[in-house]
C-alpha cells in the first residue's frame, strides 16, 4: 500500500508543481496599474515595517534610531547582525553612506 501511495503522491505533487508553474507563467499582471503607481513593493509588511519604502527603512529603520547609531535590533532578529554581513556593507545600496553615489 505504502509504495503505491508514494508513487501516487509524488505524481500528484509533480502535477501540482507543473500546474503552478504554468499558472504563474500565464498570469496576467496589472502592469499598467503598477507602472502608474510606481511603488516597487507589494502590500505585505515585514518586521521592518517599511517594506514599501525604497530600501532604506527596509533594512535599518533609520528614522527610529538614536543619535549616533542605526537601529538594527529588528533586522538582527530577522536576519543576522547586519554589520557582520558583507551585503549590508557593500551590496545593498544605501546602507553605507560613505559609498560612492550612483
Amino acid at each position: 500500500m505504502l509504495p503505491v501511495l508514494a508513487i501516487i503522491l509524488t505524481a500528484a505533487l509533480v502535477s501540482v508543481s507543473v500546474y503552478s508553474e504554468s499558472q504563474w507563467s500565464m498570469r496576467k499582471y496589472d502592469r499598467a496599474l503598477r507602472e502608474v503607481v510606481a511603488l516597487p513593493s507589494i502590500a505585505i509588511g515585514t518586521n521592518y515595517e517599511g517594506t514599501r519604502n525604497p530600501l532604506i527603512e527596509v533594512f535599518v529603520r533609520s528614522l527610529y534610531d538614536v543619535p549616533g547609531g542605526y537601529d538594527y535590533i529588528v533586522s538582527s532578529s530577522f536576519i543576522d547582525t547586519p554589520t557582520w554581513l558583507r551585503d549590508f556593507r557593500e551590496t545593498i545600496p544605501g546602507f553605507n553612506f560613505t559609498a560612492v553615489k550612483g
Binding site: S20, D30, P40, P54
Partner: protein
C-alpha cells in the same frame, strides 16, 4: 535475465514487508519527515510566490528613483530638481510622487499621491478595478481616491462614500471614494489609498514645492545605469535603479529572510531524529536479521538494496505528502502561525491569499535535502551490519 528480475522482485517484496514489520521505525521516520517537509515547503512556496510578485512590482517601477539625503537620512525632495534632472541626456520624463504611511487603529496603510502628468503615462489600461473608476488628471485636488479591498472592508466603505482621515498633523481630511481595486490586484493594492499629488501633499502637510521622491523614466535606447551615473555630481541626491531595488527586495524576502536558517534548523532536527531512530533499529534486532539473511544467502549488496528500497518508499511518501500538506497549508489557510513566527510577516490581512508558487526547483530541492540524507542514514548502517561475519552478528545480537 528472468531469474535476475525475479530476484529483485523478491527483494522488493521483502523490503515492503519490512515496512509493515518494523512499524515503529516506519512511523518515526514518516512523522519526522512529514513535519519537516510540511514546514519547509509552506515557507519555500510562500517565499517563491512573494519573490515573484515583488519582482514584477520592481520591474514596473520607474527606471530610477531619486531621493534627497540630508545627514544620511531621506527627506522630502524639492521639485526644483526636476528641471535639473530633465536636462540630463537620456532622461525621458520626471514625475513627482508623494507617499507615506497613515495609521488607522493599530494598522499602517499606504497613502500614494500621483502626479497628474503621470496618469496619462501608463502604457496600458488599468483593469484591476472592481467598482468605480481610476483617477484622472481632473481629480487633482478634489479629494477623490481609489482604495484597496482591505481598506474598503475595514472601513466599511464603497464607491460613492466619503471618508475622513486624521493626518499625523492632527488635521481631518475628507476624501471621496471613486474607485475600488479588485481582488486580482490585492497583493499590490490591499493597503493603499490612491489620490492625486495635491491631496497627498495636503494630507502629509508637505512644505510647498516638496515631494517624497522623484520617478525618472529613461529613454528606451539608454541604459538606466549610465543615466544614473550622470547624476553623480548632483548634491544630496540618492539614485536607486531597478536592479538595486530588486536586489534589496530579494534580500528582504529571500534567503536571508529567516528562511535559510529555518531550512537548516528543520533539516538538522529531521536528520537528528532519523539518526536517532536508525540507531535504535540498527541495534540488536537489525543485527540479528542481517546475520540471518546472510546465512540464507543474501549478499551485502542484496541487504543494501532492501534498505535502499525501504528508504526510497518512506522518503518519497513522507516528503510528497508533506509538500502537498505544506502547499495546502499555505495556499488555502494562509499558513497561520508558521509564517508569522518564522518569516516575520507583521501584517497579513485575512482578505487576501498568500501568493504561493510551487516551483519545480523548490520541489526538487526539498526532495534533495530530505530523501538523500535518509538514504545515507539507512544505507550506511545496513552496509556496516552486512559486512560483519553473520555468525558473529547473530551472537552479538543474542548477547
Amino acid at each position: 535475465m528472468r531469474c535476475m528480475i525475479r530476484k529483485h522482485k523478491n527483494l522488493l517484496n521483502y523490503s515492503f514487508d519490512c515496512l509493515r514489520r518494523y512499524r515503529m521505525r516506519t512511523a518515526v521516520i514518516l512523522i519526522t519527515f512529514l513535519v519537516a517537509t510540511t514546514m519547509i515547503s509552506a515557507v519555500l512556496f510562500t517565499k517563491d510566490g512573494l519573490e515573484r510578485e515583488a519582482e514584477v512590482s520592481v520591474q514596473s517601477a520607474p527606471d530610477l528613483t531619486l531621493q534627497y539625503l540630508k545627514g544620511g537620512r531621506v527627506e522630502p525632495i524639492n521639485t526644483s530638481y526636476i528641471s535639473l534632472i530633465s536636462g540630463i541626456p537620456g532622461v525621458e520624463k520626471v514625475l513627482k510622487r508623494t507617499w507615506g504611511y497613515a495609521g488607522i487603529g493599530k494598522y499602517t496603510f499606504v497613502v500614494v499621491g500621483l502626479d497628474p502628468d503621470g496618469l496619462n503615462y501608463s502604457r496600458g489600461v488599468i483593469t484591476s478595478l472592481e467598482d468605480g473608476r481610476f483617477l484622472t488628471p481632473e481629480d487633482e485636488g478634489t479629494g477623490n481616491i481609489v482604495i484597496g479591498k482591505l481598506l474598503a472592508y475595514m472601513l466599511n466603505v464603497k464607491v460613492g462614500d466619503d471618508i475622513i482621515l486624521l493626518s499625523e498633523s492632527v488635521e481631518t481630511n475628507k476624501f471621496h471614494v471613486v474607485g475600488l481595486f479588485s481582488d486580482a490586484s490585492s497583493i499590490y493594492t490591499a493597503d493603499m489609498f490612491l489620490m492625486s499629488l495635491g491631496d497627498a501633499n495636503k494630507f502629509f502637510s508637505m512644505p510647498e514645492g516638496q515631494v517624497t521622491d522623484l520617478c525618472v523614466y529613461v529613454s528606451p535606447s539608454e541604459n538606466p545605469a549610465t543615466v544614473a551615473s550622470r547624476m553623480n555630481s548632483i548634491p544630496n541626491l540618492r539614485v536607486l535603479d531597478q536592479d538595486l531595488l530588486l536586489r534589496g527586495y530579494k534580500a528582504a524576502y529571500g534567503a536571508r529572510g529567516g528562511i535559510f536558517t529555518t531550512l537548516w534548523t528543520i533539516l538538522l532536527v529531521a536528520v537528528a531524529l532519523i539518526a536517532f531512530s536508525q540507531a535504535i533499529v540498527v541495534g540488536h534486532e537489525s543485527q540479528f536479521e542481517v546475520g540471518l539473511l546472510k546465512t540464507f544467502g543474501f549478499s551485502t549488496l542484496d541487504i543494501i538494496e532492501v534498505r535502499l528500497a525501504e528508504s526510497l518508499v518512506i522518503g518519497f511518501f513522507a516528503t510528497s505528502l508533506g509538500m502537498l500538506l505544506g502547499f495546502s497549508y499555505a495556499a488555502f489557510l494562509n499558513a497561520p502561525g508558521l509564517v508569522d513566527i518564522l518569516l516575520g510577516w507583521a501584517y497579513l490581512p485575512r482578505e487576501f491569499r498568500l501568493p504561493v508558487y510551487v516551483s519545480l526547483q523548490s520541489v526538487f530541492s526539498i526532495y534533495a535535502v530530505t530523501v538523500i540524507p535518509l538514504l545515507i542514514t539507512t544505507v550506511v548502517p545496513a552496509w556496516l551490519n552486512a559486512i560483519i561475519d553473520p555468525e558473529l552478528a547473530m551472537r552479538r545480537a543474542a548477547a
